[in-house]
Structure formats: structure tokens, C-alpha cells
């Protein structure tokens, strides 16, 4: 398909791919940042869907079209929706900043920046021994063949199946609302007692000095 575009982006002298990549990356990062700083959690959820979509585009650019498709199906179609439902179930819309962010958000920010710097520095400085210059494509059929023919992935698929089953069984149990009141006493009844009290048994002072007092402990 030839749209008659110039081989590179005008003025910037970038490949068009690069421009697309940058655009998608920009969208994704912006959306991701909105996810983590947005006050309205519903919007955060929606932004997350956007970020996932942009990511799907990047996957496609990186040649992993199957993954791109799966991203749309699974992440956007399933997980995000799930999360949105959960938000609906638990959320009282937006709130002031102190409800959104923990007081130590700045420390978190520092840590995140640190992680980012470390990761970026380390990956940039690495000569990946196996890398090739040219981007490769992962043809869907090959991926499919691999998935169903390679014993590793067959096995992995089985494990994932069990994993999902387990998650579903457990999730249903946990999320299921039971009308009956609890017949047994709940351990929450003892909340107060759980607060650490200080009648700890500490080594008393020398016995000769205040034996009697120490014994009262």
C-alpha cells in the first residue's frame, strides 16, 4: 500500500514508523500517567484502556500481531471491563487528592524515578548478545504452530488452564455474597486486643533488687 508519502517524515527526517512509534508511545505514556494520577478512578480505568490500546499498536509495530490482537481482546475486552465493574461496585466516584494519593507519594515518585533510571541506564548500556539490527516479524501461523506443537507451550497452556480455573473457583467463593450471618464468632470481635498492648514480658531488673515487683508482670 503506497500512500505516496515521503520516505521520511518531513522536516524531522524520521522514518514514518518512528513517528507512529513515538505517537503511540506518547499516547500510551500519557494515558498511563493519567491512570496513576487521575483523581477519578473511573476515568483512570478508561485511560488504562487507552494505554492498552496504544500498547497494542506498539506490539503490532514490533511485529507481534497476534499479541496485539490478544491485547485488545483480553486486556481491553476482558480485564479492563472487569476492573471497571469492580470500580463500580466499590467506588464512591472521585475524591480529594489526599484520598487518591498516599501521604508518601513523593517517596514513591522518587523510587519510581530511581527504578526508571536504573532500568534505562542498564538496558541502554547493554549490548544484548543475541540482538539483530532488523526488526523481525512473528507470523501468526508460526506462533500458532508453536503454541500448539511445542510441548513447552502445550504444557504451559495446561498450567494456565488450571490457573484460571483455580482463580475462578476461588474468586467466586470470595466474591459470593452469603445471606446467612456468620454462625461462628468472628475474629474481628477481638480487634481491640489485636492492637499491641505493652504488657510484654521483659527481662526484669536484677532479681535481688525488685523481685517482688518484677513478679507482678
Amino acid at each position: 500500500m503506497d500512500l505516496g508519502l515521503p520516505p521520511t517524515v518531513p522536516f524531522l527526517d524520521w522514518a514514518w514508523d518512528d513517528l507512529l512509534f513515538l505517537a503511540l508511545a506518547g499516547v500510551m505514556l500519557a494515558a498511563a500517567i493519567f491512570v496513576v494520577i487521575g483523581r477519578d478512578i473511573v476515568r483512570s480505568g478508561l485511560a488504562m484502556m487507552l494505554a492498552f490500546a496504544a500498547l497494542a499498536g506498539i506490539y503490532a509495530m514490533a511485529g507481534a500481531v497476534v499479541v496485539a490482537a490478544a491485547q485488545v481482546l483480553i486486556y481491553i475486552g476482558a480485564i479492563s471491563i472487569l476492573i471497571l465493574f469492580a470500580i463500580m461496585l466499590t467506588q464512591t466516584k472521585s475524591g480529594p487528592a489526599d484520598l487518591v494519593f498516599h501521604r508518601q507519594w513523593w517517596a514513591g515518585l522518587l523510587a519510581a524515578i530511581g527504578v526508571a533510571l536504573l532500568m534505562i541506564i542498564s538496558v541502554i548500556n547493554t549490548q544484548w548478545p543475541l540482538r539483530v539490527a532488523e526488526r523481525l516479524w512473528s507470523p501468526t501461523d508460526e506462533v500458532a504452530m508453536l503454541l500448539f506443537m511445542d510441548p513447552l507451550y502445550v504444557f504451559a497452556l495446561q498450567v494456565v488452564a488450571v490457573l484460571l480455573t483455580a482463580a475462578v473457583i476461588g474468586g467466586v467463593f470470595l466474591a459470593k455474597r452469603e445471606g446467612l450471618t456468620d454462625p461462628g464468632e468472628r475474629e474481628t470481635a477481638t480487634f481491640q486486643q489485636l492492637r499491641p498492648t505493652s504488657n510484654l514480658e521483659r527481662l526484669p531488673r536484677p532479681a535481688g533488687v525488685d523481685a517482688a515487683q518484677a513478679d507482678q508482670a
Partner: protein, 506 residues
């Protein structure tokens, strides 16, 4: 093509059987809802059957259809002595946990079926972890193990503490999983393979002269962090006390051993087998983690008033002790006997620890059969009079945890120290630190004994009664704790098991 041959079936039978058992339990529950005793029976019978099956399949020292390691699914899963040993251990853990469940769950209106089923799923993951020979499987198995664990932690879903523990466990666990996964991917990108043997080969080959690439080092750091989280090593232990305290007590018992041993299996497969060639790089961290973990665990345990929380910190400390074995492996020269000794120590300690720690939690759970009994240490007051047998068992487990000979826990420490001493150097100091820690630990373990034997219970304290399942389970744990320490054939059997399992890794 996938060759489903005899070996594949044999190799995969125990974990597969576990999945089947899980489904069976769900089906039984659907068919006959609320029959807790039936569920417990089916589950324990299933565990026993699977144990027998595992023994029959092998490969165990001198037993088993399989006589050597078998790789299946293109090398994604391996059944060697380590796998078999860990399978047995996980099955035993499962059996005990299932037995301890009903006494606690039933009075609180919690079903046994889902508990048992979740346990089965989690243990499937653990067992797969023991045999995983591909990082993809490793990760999936890890998730399979931890996800049911999160749910088990929140199993008492109407209990605020249980769910609180669960969400903390879940959030932090997922966070660490992501970190771990990133590490895996970086490794994967660096080595170009996911197979554990191949990773080792690549690393072994690629280390000639050249240093490690920063990207891979970053991967190592991420992996170390993730793994340290899973075993609850300091400073990644934060989830442990809260999750353990909040969880229903039988679950706490399981959490304190199952995921921990499984996480060690992961470390053995990943760090020892795959990253063994770069052990010089990660060993210093293990040494540090070991020292920090046992020291902090013990120090904080000193001042705990809640026995579950205390045992949680104590389990952190035990993680530290096990790490000493790993450190011994890491610090020793390649091919030296200390390498094997270190790994052997890890296995032996895990086995001994599983029984004694489960036993201790089981006593706590048994006490809490009557709802309203808190997990404050003071609820042990006068137990020596109220329930002499139970108190004696608790004392036994505590002594074993302390490391008093000739109980299992003593041998475990023995092994750890010995492996560290074999390496010498800094590890000698680590051994000494271990012993000092053991002495500190004696203080809080004995504090429980003080309550049991030297303080009187309040007047109104009701009698203690324990169910048959718990009784059986306690008996098993106690017999194991004593037998591993005291009865020579058993000791030797466990030693051999640990030895062969260690050899399988080298």
C-alpha cells in the same frame, strides 16, 4: 509433535493427580454440599494416594519406577529426586493442612471444600515449581501456587483481618510478581532461551572473559528481589506478619510452609540451576539477606504478643536459616563438597521446618476450635494443666523450632551450620550469627512454654477439645518431628533424600 509417552505420564502424574483431586473435591462438594468430614476424608485419602504414587514413581533413592531424572515436554518439566522429594513434602504439607482445617473452619461456618480445593490448586503450583525446568513454567507454576494462596488468606471472607491480610498479601505479591517477571524477561532477552539448562549453558559459555551486561545484572537484581519477597526475606518480608496473622489459622500454617518451601524450590531451580554459573554475583546478597532475615525476624518476634504474628516472625527467621544453606552453596567453590552440603541443608531444613512449624500452628488452630479464643499468647495460659497432651506437643514443636536436640529442628540447624562451616570465611561468622539468633529465638519460644506451664489460666477458661482430624495431624507432625531427629533409620532416610535431591541440582 508432542510425544505423550510413558515417561511424560509418570513424570506428570503427581501434579496432575493433584488437579484431579481438586476437581474431585469441587464435584463432591457440589454433589453433597456441606459434608466437611467427607471432604476432609477424600482430600486426605487423595493426598495419601498421591504420596504413594510419588514414591512408586520416584525417582527416589533406591525406590521408584524412574531411576533417574526424566525431562518431559521438551525439557520444560523434569522429574528428578528433587522434584520427587518436594512433591512428597508438599503432599505431606497438604495432608496436614487439610487435617487441621475442619476444627477451625467449621465453627466459623467456612466450607471445607473450597479450602481443600484451593489448597490442592496451590500445591499443584508448588509441585510444578519443584519440577519446572523452564522459566515460563516456573512463572506460571509460581502464579498457580500464590493465587490460591491469596484467596486462602482471605478465606474467612467475613472476617476483617482475614481479608485485610489477603489484600495486603495479594497486592504486594502481585507487585513482586511483576518485578520478578521483568527480571525473567531480561534474563530471557539476555540469554535467548527460557529453558533452565540452556540458560545455565549460555551463562557458562558467555562468561569467558566478558563481564556481565548491565541489563542482565538488572535482571538479576529484579529476580533477587522477587524471589526474596516470595520467601519473605528481610527487607521484603512485610507482608508476612499481616498475612499470617489475618489468615485463618490452618491457612497460616500452610502459608508458613507451603509457599515458603515452594519459593525455595523456585530459588533452587532458578538461582542454583539456571543462574548457578553466576553464583558469585548473587551470593553476597544471599548472605546479607540471610543475616538480616534471621536477625530481624527474631528480634521482632521477641516482642510479639500474638502467637500467630510471633510465629510469622519466627518463620521469617527460619527463612534466614535456610538462606544460610543457600549462601553456603553460593560461597563455596564450584564442585566442592560444600556446594552439595549447602543445598542438602536447604532441603533438610525445609523438610524439618515443614513438620514442626505446621505442628505449632496446628496447636494454635486446635485451641481456636472454640471461636473467640484469640491468638494472643496468653490464651496458652495454663495449657499444661488444661490439656497436657496438647501442651506437650506444643512444647515439642517449640523445642524443635528452637533447635534443641534430638528433634528435627536441631538436625536442620546442624545441617545449615555445618554447610556454612564447610565454606569457612565469612560464612563462619554467619554460622555464629545463626547460633546467636537461635538463642534469641529460644526466648520467645520458651515464653510460650512459660504461659503453658508456669502461668495459670483465668478461672472461666473453657476446656480444650480437639477433633479427630486435628489429632491425627498433630500426631503425624509430632512423630515426624521426633522421628526425623531421633530414629536413626528415619534420620538417615531424610538425609539421603536431601542428599540425592541436592545432587540432582548439581
Amino acid at each position: 509433535m508432542i510425544g505423550v509417552d510413558q515417561n511424560t505420564i509418570l513424570a506428570l502424574l503427581p501434579p496432575a493427580g493433584m488437579v484431579v483431586l481438586a476437581f474431585l473435591l469441587v464435584i463432591v462438594d457440589l454433589a453433597r454440599p456441606g459434608r466437611d468430614r467427607l471432604i476432609t476424608f477424600v482430600a486426605s485419602a487423595g493426598f495419601l494416594l498421591l504420596m504413594a504414587l510419588t514414591v512408586v514413581i520416584g525417582p527416589l533413592p533406591n525406590i521408584g519406577i524412574l531411576t533417574g531424572p526424566v525431562e518431559v515436554f521438551g525439557g520444560a518439566y523434569v522429574r528428578d529426586t528433587m522434584t520427587a522429594t518436594l512433591d512428597l513434602l508438599f503432599l505431606a504439607i497438604g495432608l496436614l493442612s487439610v487435617l487441621f482445617g475442619p476444627d477451625y473452619l467449621r465453627p466459623r461456618g467456612l466450607p471445607a471444600a473450597e479450602f481443600a480445593a484451593m489448597l490442592c490448586f496451590a500445591l499443584t503450583g508448588a509441585m510444578l515449581l519443584g519440577g519446572a525446568h523452564d522459566v515460563i513454567i516456573l512463572f506460571l507454576a509460581l502464579e498457580l501456587m500464590v493465587l490460591p494462596g491469596y484467596m486462602l488468606a482471605g478465606y474467612a471472607k467475613r472476617d476483617g483481618l482475614s481479608t485485610e491480610g489477603a489484600i495486603k498479601y495479594f497486592l504486594l505479591g502481585s507487585f513482586s510478581s511483576a518485578i520478578f517477571l521483568f527480571g525473567l524477561v531480561l534474563t530471557f532477552g539476555f540469554t535467548g532461551t527460557t529453558n533452565i539448562s540452556e540458560i545455565a549453558d549460555v551463562l557458562r559459555g558467555g562468561l569467558e572473559g566478558a563481564g556481565l551486561a548491565p541489563g542482565f545484572v538488572m535482571g538479576l537484581a529484579l529476580l533477587t528481589t522477587g524471589a526474596a519477597f516470595k520467601i519473605a526475606a528481610v527487607p521484603f518480608h512485610y507482608w508476612t506478619p499481616d498475612a499470617y496473622q489475618g489468615s485463618p489459622t490452618p491457612v497460616t500454617g500452610y502459608l508458613s510452609v507451603g509457599p515458603k518451601v515452594a519459593a525455595f524450590a523456585l530459588i533452587l531451580r532458578l538461582f542454583v540451576e539456571a543462574l548457578g554459573p553466576v553464583k558469585e554475583d548473587w551470593t553476597p546478597f544471599i548472605v546479607f539477606l540471610a543475616a538480616a532475615t534471621m536477625t530481624l525476624g527474631n528480634l521482632v518476634a521477641l516482642s510479639q504478643d500474638n502467637i500467630k504474628r510471633m510465629l510469622a516472625y519466627s518463620s521469617i527467621a527460619h527463612t534466614g536459616y535456610i538462606l544460610v544453606g543457600l549462601a553456603a552453596y553460593g560461597a563455596s567453590a564450584v564442585g566442592s563438597p560444600a556446594e552439595q552440603a549447602g543445598l542438602q541443608a536447604v532441603f533438610f531444613y525445609s523438610i524439618a521446618y515443614a513438620f514442626m512449624n505446621l505442628g505449632a500452628f496446628a496447636v494454635v488452630a486446635a485451641l481456636q476450635r472454640r471461636p473467640g479464643v484469640t491468638s494472643q499468647i496468653s490464651s496458652f495460659s495454663g495449657l499444661g494443666r488444661r490439656a497436657p497432651m496438647l501442651a506437650a506437643l506444643m512444647l515439642l514443636f517449640l523445642l524443635s523450632l528452637t533447635g534443641i536436640p534430638p528433634l528435627a529442628g536441631f538436625w536442620a540447624k546442624w545441617y545449615v551450620i555445618q554447610s556454612a562451616l564447610q565454606v569457612g570465611g565469612w560464612l563462619t561468622l554467619l554460622a555464629v550469627l545463626t547460633m546467636i539468633n537461635a538463642a534469641i529465638a529460644a526466648f520467645y519460644y520458651l515464653r510460650v512454654a512459660v504461659y503453658m506451664y508456669m502461668r495459670d489460666a483465668p478461672e472461666s477458661t473453657p476446656a480444650v477439645s480437639i477433633g479427630r482430624a486435628t489429632r491425627t495431624g498433630l500426631g503425624v507432625a509430632a512423630v515426624a518431628t521426633v522421628a526425623i531427629g531421633l530414629i536413626p533409620p528415619v534420620t538417615i532416610a531424610v538425609i539421603t533424600l536431601a542428599e540425592q535431591a541436592a545432587l540432582a541440582l548439581l
